[in-house]
Amino acid sequence: MATKPASGGSGAPAAAGLRPALGPSVWVPLRYLATAQAAFLLAVTWAIFEADALADHYYLSHTFALTHLITLGWISMTIMGAAYQLVPVALEAQLHSERIARWQYWFMLLGVIGMVAHFWNGHFNGMAWSAGLVLVAVLLFVWNMGATLWRLPRWGIVAKHVAASVSFLLATAIVGNLVALDKVLGFWRGEVLNIVHAHAHLAALGWVTMIIFGVAYRLIPMFALAADPDERLPHWQFWIFTAGVAGLYPAVLLGSRLQALFALLIAGGIALFVHQIVRIARGRKKPTLDWGVRTALTALAYLVALVPVGLALAAGLVPEGEFASRLAFAYGFLGLVGWASLTIIGMMHKIIPFLVWFHRYSGLVGTVPVPSLAQLYSEAWQRRGYWLLNLGTLGTAAGLLAASPGILRGGLAVLAAGAWIFGLNMLSIYRHLRRRPAPGPARAPGAAAKPQNTFLRRPLKKVQMQGGARCEVRGVLSPYVAAPRERANATDGPFSAAC
């Protein structure tokens, strides 16, 4: 019997080198995502031992080391890996270059390790060099995404968000490098607090939030089984939000009062996005939302809660002083962990199972029963992780506000417990990547099972070999594992000898 390829463009995954349609090989995003998860676990565990420093002001070398492990090692590494998987899918376009994505990974990895290590030990020359490596990684990413977008005949709402996001990423990386160079050359004469604030907002809103918004318009309807949103309102949201971020950056940099106006625009953009997501969720056909989507929606609630705090800080409604500094720290933490990290954790329960499933089971569909994506990990542990992550996030934010090392330590310990549950659940998915014997042709009911080509751990029997050697006979491997001298004596039946 022969099967013809489908005219609609089907191709056997094996022939395509195990790559999802339009995307790169699964190993490209997986290396970014697995590295990012390791960085997250390291950061939240390390943070427990930094509770005393975190109870102090945020402008400290160790705090910056931790912050960049989270922002670059965890959040940016994840977004870059996920973008290589999702952007071709969401835009229905071929990724420009898989090779650039592979090279970019190494620049990013070395850059992040270097930056975190040099922030930690206060060696700013090394930090500036490492920031340069991160800039190279960002340039490669911008090139790859830009060339992918360039070929699109029309830019829809997702493409616009991705384009704006990578532009803001480039601006963030350039400013970050200038700050790093200033640490060595001192050309800003120590007046860098506004620049650091502007850099942080550009990264958190322009890069991270912008790309989450764009991809969510495609992913949330897909996962909730809802109709794609009408693009008119998202287009308004995009322009208002982009104008807000683009304006807030120079306003914060210059310490201008106009930052309140741009913060209002950003709040308007967020409100329109939330309105759209609520409409999608209400119009869904999927009876119950899975915990991945619930986690992402909870993250959105953190973003909504942060809007009035951001507006109050931008409008100068919080008198300058110790409390304003603590509030800004808690605000930044909730933005990075409550909003960005929980969104990522929710989406990782969709993206990682898909990549692993595709690599391991895609070629078996239609021949043997294969697990669903949800069966690759434990939903019960995901649920426990969800509560611990939220409890830990709120506890840590309370500790930051109160400047209490004790509360901070407790909150961070709970957060780390939730993060480790997430990490172990991801590990249980990665375990499916291990190569297993391919299934043979289906057996007729009642037919005897064929012997499996498995090397048993426990010896079946011990035999005396010619020449006096004692050998253990294990299972049913081919006789060729035994050395030629013993082979003749060890192959009675389906056994083999290991001497």
Binding site: T3, A12, L22, V89, P287, G366, S372, L373
Partner: protein, 109 residues
């Protein structure tokens, strides 16, 4: 409908029920992705769609459908054609598919 060679539409749909969307845990037939089945002698042609254009499961589901059809006794050739018109929408899920989703049945156990 049985043909001269005995391959029936029910057999084809039964075979396609073994291909399950791994994200939703529902088979292709109950998801409403199968638009048309044509049987000519020992050749089977199926028109199917996906839940969304650019669906990441594109290759897996189409190739899986072809493999599942290939297991029907007596079949000589099977072709799966991917079509996008009419666009799929969640209302195309069968009552059985919707019930399975409500019960949270997620793929084979």
């Amino acid at each position: 409908m049985a043909t001269e060679t005995g391959i029936t539409e029910a057999q084809v749909l039964d075979a396609l029920r073994h291909v399950i969307d791994p994200e939703l845990g529902i088979n292709l037939v109950d998801l409403g992705l199968i638009y048309d089945v044509a049987i000519e002698g020992q050749d089977v042609r199926v028109k199917m769609t996906l839940t969304t254009p650019g669906c990441p499961m594109h290759d897996s589901l189409v190739a899986g459908a072809e493999r599942a059809l290939g297991r029907i006794p007596g079949i000589v050739s099977a072709a799966v054609e991917l079509v996008w018109s009419p666009p799929w929408n969640p209302n195309m899920i069968s009552p059985e598919g919707m019930a399975a989703m409500q019960q949270g049945r997620q793929g084979p156990r």
